[in-house]
Symmetry: C2
């Protein structure tokens, strides 16, 4: 154990300065000052299973507002009559979050949007060759002209306006920078980059955002689809490069397999700057919000969901369990109690180790020496080779073993021990010792 | 439509050279030559729900081999008696994939491992201050001494050897480079970087791998946990920086919420280099393998899983549907038919547009003008405001409308049209036109 003292001063500093947090050389970084545009009621409505009644929309909007999101984005009022009246109803709730609606870059849509009572309008138009050819069929000069008209109109109404390209990563960089520069000059509040097809990778994101940051003075918002599984990482990298706002939805619901999920981004950001995230967002409400939306769109929380997946804080292998029992930070970058959740040491399996079993023996208030615990661990691993074990199985083995030692003559007649509730083994109260 | 011709030559070149593929300036990149170390039977066995019988392990190993993975990694033979005999059994199958087992950096484990018949041994030891203090309690000179002993022993048996640090991103960079340089010199086949707690972000990964690449001449393998949702992006970025091998598991199963998933990484890689991926891996077997493992560990495929999630190729919003009908590449970076899957245009909802309804009208073999289709689209959106719609609802509205026009006198007496099977609207045969 003397070796603990040999850790260099430098290592101490690295640990203390949170090396997996924002890169100190990134003077552009907004990792410590980001904002959320929550789009469950817009992008999320484009999810295959989504049909939100007015009541459900209001319930979701209130829950998101309570959680602390900065903006709530709603479906275009032009999409349907009910979409318009729902938008008006949510604007009247008096939420702390600013209410946005998301429209095509067209005066017909803008005229309706500004009458709904929203705090801001997000306009979008496809700029990639694919979308210009197969979606709206317009060229860049037409797009620019429309954008300027819509932006000046919305600004004249005294509300926020964002201009975003669509499919930005398949758009010509010169086209993009030209139009962003133009709309920035006429006073747009934000420009948006959208990875509409989910093709972007983190280094591309970093380069595009950094370049755009040198061209515009307004804020940059980013929207990442998750087709290739990079939506959270791309969002983080965009913030590093100077983007300020990230579009999210609960569980990431949206077109196809969706966008950056609220919960997953919270996991990423809390690893980078726990203090900022904790001060701004009510993380212990995350599970309830995810359940609310999952129920509304009839899906299950994915088993491997960040934070709230059923096994996100379950430790199984022997060496993991041993270290977690000594200090949870060894194998946890997130603290489950930040989210109102508990960790669980899975000891009823063939990969278990004697440290995990020792902890269980202590919970059962039994008295065994380390050598005895190693012996009973061997028995447990042997049964774990034959079939899946539950906690009762392990407890029975431990108690039988203990009985054998204490009163060997009666042991053979003893039944299994009392059933122990799983709650007993939730080890949420393990202290996180500081490194010395 | 004339505007299509105005697209600059440069844009053409960018589209044709696959701008979302490997960065041409990355001479280090292995994006086009990566290999997979499939760890469902090692890391995956550490998943909370996993209990694999011998038969199930063999079934999974054969399926992975057929899929084309380069290596299959198995639980340490020291973990339990059955683990050892299962390892031996899988080595005897004569698979194309090389078989590895994963052990602690200790001669006791190494002696058992080399007798199982494996093609290679992966050794790992914790190098972060956290793990040195709370797990094994050893200092770097002890770690280096053990590593050299184990490596030389395994090499003397004529099988592959990998040395990996554990919790690499919380380890001292000087310690890491020192030990990697030492083991590289004595002829280790691979060195491994492991983000054991899932804290790393892509730019950190890029920097560490690139630095390591300048220090060692052997291959670099990477292992990323997914606690903060970056495991796929980190893997991709590691390949860009010169890593050669990525650890994956089916559905990402592993400790806590797991590691880089096989399917998700395939989605990422096929977007970068479709030809390489298609030539090496049987992607149309992906769904079966995921179902096999999901059943074995009793989880559902996450609704938002890349590629195989139920909605991964479902398009809903009107403008998306319109463009997809014209050219699927507009909103799809992945081609569902590469995976033996189909796309689906979701038109039975209030966000639908008249282009999607027009396509449905044509499928029903009815004859309506564009104006008539716009009129019936309005009716559909109105009903979609009131309640969730299914395909039968939409078909009824269309047919009633059509009947009203054709034989107005009898329309009121007509019942709903015949039930149409969902299969009819799977639009997998839409052609992908090339950009002109």
């Amino acid at each position: 154990m003397d070796n603990y003292q040999k850790v260099s001063e430098e290592t101490h500093k690295r640990v203390q300065s949170n090396p997996y947090g924002p890169n100190p050389s990134d003077y552009l970084s907004n990792v410590r000052s980001f904002q959320l545009i929550e789009s469950t009621l817009r992008e999320g409505e484009q999810f295959a299973n989504a049909f939100f009644s007015t009541e459900k929309k209001i319930e979701i909007a209130k829950a998101l507002d309570d959680f602390g999101v900065d903006y709530i984005e709603l479906t275009s009022p032009v999409a349907s009559e009910q979409s318009r009246s729902d938008c008006e109803a949510i604007c009247k709730l008096g939420l702390k979050a600013k209410i946005l609606t998301h429209i095509r870059c067209h005066m017909d849509d803008a005229r309706v949007a500004v009458e709904t009572g929203v705090d801001g309008v997000d306009v979008v138009i496809g700029t990639s060759q694919f979308l210009r050819q197969y979606s709206h069929g317009k060229d860049m000069s037409y797009i620019t002209k429309s954008a300027v008209e819509v932006i000046e109109f919305v600004k004249s109404k005294g509300i926020e306006i964002r201009f975003s390209s669509e499919d930005s990563f398949r758009s010509d960089i010169v086209d993009l920078l030209n139009i962003y520069k133009t709309v920035d000059k006429i006073g747009v509040n934000r420009v948006g980059i959208a990875d509409t097809v989910g093709c972007a990778n983190p280094r591309q994101v970093y380069e595009l955002v950094k370049t755009l940051k040198s061209v515009v003075s307004c804020d940059i918002e980013c929207h990442f689809h998750n087709d290739t599984g990079c939506a959270i990482a791309n969002a983080y990298t965009a913030l590093e490069a100077g983007a300020k706002l990230i579009d999210v939805s609960v569980l990431g619901i949206g077109e196809r397999n969706g966008i950056t999920p609220l919960g997953g981004l919270m996991a990423r950001m809390i690893a980078a700057d726990r203090e900022y995230v904790m001060s701004k967002y009510k993380l212990h409400k995350l599970r309830d919000i995810e359940n609310l939306v999952a129920d509304a769109v009839q899906v299950n929380i994915p088993f491997n969901n960040p934070i709230t997946g059923f096994c996100a804080f379950t430790h199984k292998a022997g060496i993991h369990a041993k270290a977690i029992l000594a200090n949870p930070s060894t194998y946890e970058i997130l603290n489950p109690s930040d989210f109102g959740l508990s960790r669980y040491i899975h000891f009823a399996n063939r990969l278990t180790g004697w440290n995990a079993i020792k902890s269980r023996v202590e919970q059962l208030n039994l008295n065994l020496s380390d050598d005895q615990i190693k012996e009973v661990t061997t028995k447990i691993k042997k049964l774990g080779d034959v079939r899946p074990l539950n906690i009762d199985d392990v407890d029975s083995i431990i108690k039988d073993f203990h009985a054998d030692i204490s009163t060997p003559m009666f042991a053979a007649n003893e039944g299994p021990g009392p059933v122990v509730d799983e709650e007993d083994v939730l080890l949420s109260n393990i202290k996180r010792p500081k490194l010395n």
